[in-house]
Amino acid sequence: MQFFFEVAVSGLLSGLMYSLVALGFVLIYKASGVFNFAQGAMVYFAALAVVGLMDKGFPLWAAILGAFVVMIMVGMATERLVLRRLVNQPPITLFMATIGLAFFLEGLGPLLFGSAVRAIDLGIVDEPIMAIMDSIGIGISKFDLFASGMVIVLVALLALFFQKTKVGRALRAVADDHQAALSLGIPLQHIWAVVWGVAGFVALVAGLLWGSRNGVQFALTMTALKALPVLILGGFTSIPGAIVGGLIIGVSEKLAEIYLPPVLQDLFGGNFGGIEGWFPYVFALLFLLVRPEGLFGERHIDRV
């Protein structure tokens, strides 16, 4: 049982990371109805920008600030050069455009900031805290606590932003219907620029946390793909959904990785590691069959 909880906790923590990426997806989807496949690439790009600037001799805080500016610029450029020209196109077209964007960023990042694998040192130790270890016997590091704290703060800020500010309300209006929002006098372009900037900021936070834990490397973009099943589970439009979905995916994939291979081995023989590579997707797929709109998503009604 002890072991089970240990696995579950480590799953929760990696799930938190997925949540962060999923959060960026949800933000953009809510505001512009675009499914931003490039969110993972943005995380990679942001992390690269930080390490790249640090390589140039900037201190950590300056590098983070610089990366923030870079991400805002990337977001605004995306809005201006890509989205503005694709207004009123079908969602699938926009989706494919973001795949193009993802490739562009994956090429541009290493070109500007170097492609060697580096780690971001945030100055927070990634070792189990002894007090917790002693009392309940599960290893939780200061870094984990820090990451969880970051996510909570981020979500609280975003929730406030979406629910209480004028820009947030405009964002939700745009999400509902581009044309209706336009005709109400909401400046679509500004709103999009804002939301891409915010998504860039979330990507930066995710990039920092991921980069300091796993190092900044190309594999980051693959791991970021796991945010997709998270979204399916949580629903595309729900910020709490992204968090809960992330945690569920994180825990379930870790548990599957530990507990499924022995079962398979008994049945077929051989070595069956690497289940976490596909488990989230298949899990999400099965979930879709039961509840297509996700845990917290809005039920969609089709009209002809």
């Binding site: 193009g100 964007l101 051989g270």
Partner: protein, 358 residues
């Protein structure tokens, strides 16, 4: 001037429903086929066959498959490489376990296996669409590759899942030289392209397009959504499966499951975006473009770098390639969402009016 259809009258329904109703098109197609079947085998070098022409045809076939699903039936798929993998491994196993099985038959059966897997992963498409479906097909992508890596039976107990394809013979002729392989692939691709062309012009294809344009409306006018979508998945996966078998048998000779990773799926998706979504010709144009672009860049970029005195490493070239791919995708989606095929069509329209446009 050259492209004048005046005076060509269609006097029967049969004439009206031909694939190439205009005489110039028919002549052009015949010339193209003659070029592909006669001239190129006589002139081409070994490098051209094995590094450019065979992969071009194989990828065109895969793109054709994806185009049926995404371009005609409107179901976005990010798992085409997985279906190719199923085809490749199925063909290998048919050859391995049933000695003396004709190669064409095993390719066909491999395609059927891929179709079955495609239908399985297409089942969720009945309840979901758009991005949700994209994620469902990602599940296929990762799951299939994992299964092929971990279950050693598929690769005849090779620990890393690598298969080396068997020798091929067709009607008693060994298919062992690049030229023969090229002709073999060309034959299959031509037949399947014809099949696809006729399929999308038939009631099946029209049902796909109706579902693509608006599935609820399609259902209202009496199209069975379930059958139509699963049909699209089956046919598309069949094409991808055969392409995968050809990829393994005629192009690479030995493949591993990781060779069918997500990257390959994306490449095929890019082919249809750049070539033209919802166009048979587009699959070929896109395949040629995506295949030739890296070769072109490999030659041009270092020269360009030398000219500008920029220190370009190999890594930088590959990064620039990624960027260019991405930028091109966005460019095409913005400027010409229907891709190269549409440009070709516009060119033809221009030629029809050529010396005297409006």
């Amino acid at each position: 001037m050259f492209y004048r259809e005046a005076g060509q009258f269609k006097t029967s329904y049969l004439a009206d429903s031909q694939i190439f109703p205009i005489r110039q098109d028919r002549i052009g197609m015949l010339l193209l086929l003659a070029l592909a079947f006669v001239v190129i085998p006589a002139l081409g070098s070994e490098y051209w066959f094995s590094a450019i022409l065979i992969p071009f045809l194989v990828f065109a076939l895969a793109a054709l498959g994806l185009n049926i699903l995404t371009g005609y039936a409107g179901q976005l798929s990010l798992g085409s490489a997985a279906f190719m993998a199923v085809g490749a491994y199925a063909a290998y196993n048919f050859q391995l376990r049933i000695p003396g099985m004709p190669i064409l038959l095993s390719f066909m059966l491999a395609g059927c296996c891929a179709a079955a897997v495609g239908v399985l992963f297409g089942l969720p498409s009945l309840r979901i669409k758009g991005f949700y479906l994209a994620v469902a097909t990602l599940a296929a992508q990762f799951f299939v590759v994992w299964v092929l890596t971990k279950f050693a039976w598929f690769s005849n107990d090779n620990s890393s899942g690598v298969i080396s394809t068997q020798k091929m013979a067709f009607c008693g002729i060994d298919i062992n030289t690049p030229v023969r392989k090229y002709l073999f692939v060309l034959g299959i691709v031509c037949i399947m392209a014809l099949l696809a062309k006729n399929l999308v012009r038939s009631s099946t294809g029209r049902a796909w397009m109706a579902v693509r344009d608006m599935d609820v409306a399609a259902e209202v006018i009496g199209i069975d959504l379930m059958r139509t979508k699963l049909q699209a998945f089956a046919v598309s996966s069949f094409f991808c499966g055969v392409a995968g078998a050809l990829y393994a048998f005629c192009y690479l000779g030995s493949v591993e499951p990781d060779g069918f990773a997500l990257d390959l799926s994306f490449r095929i998706l890019f082919m249809i975006i750049i070539g033209g979504v919802g166009s048979i010709l587009g699959a070929f144009l896109g395949s040629a473009f995506i295949l030739l672009l890296p070769i072109f860049l490999d030659h041009v970029l270092p020269a360009l770098a030398a000219l500008l005195h920029l220190p370009f490493t190999n890594a930088a070239v590959s990064h620039i390639q990624l960027m260019l791919f991405g930028a091109l995708i966005i460019f095409f989606l913005i400027v010409e969402p229907l891709g190269l095929a549409r440009l070709w069509q516009i060119g033809k329209e221009k030629l029809r009016l050529w010396p005297f446009p409006h």
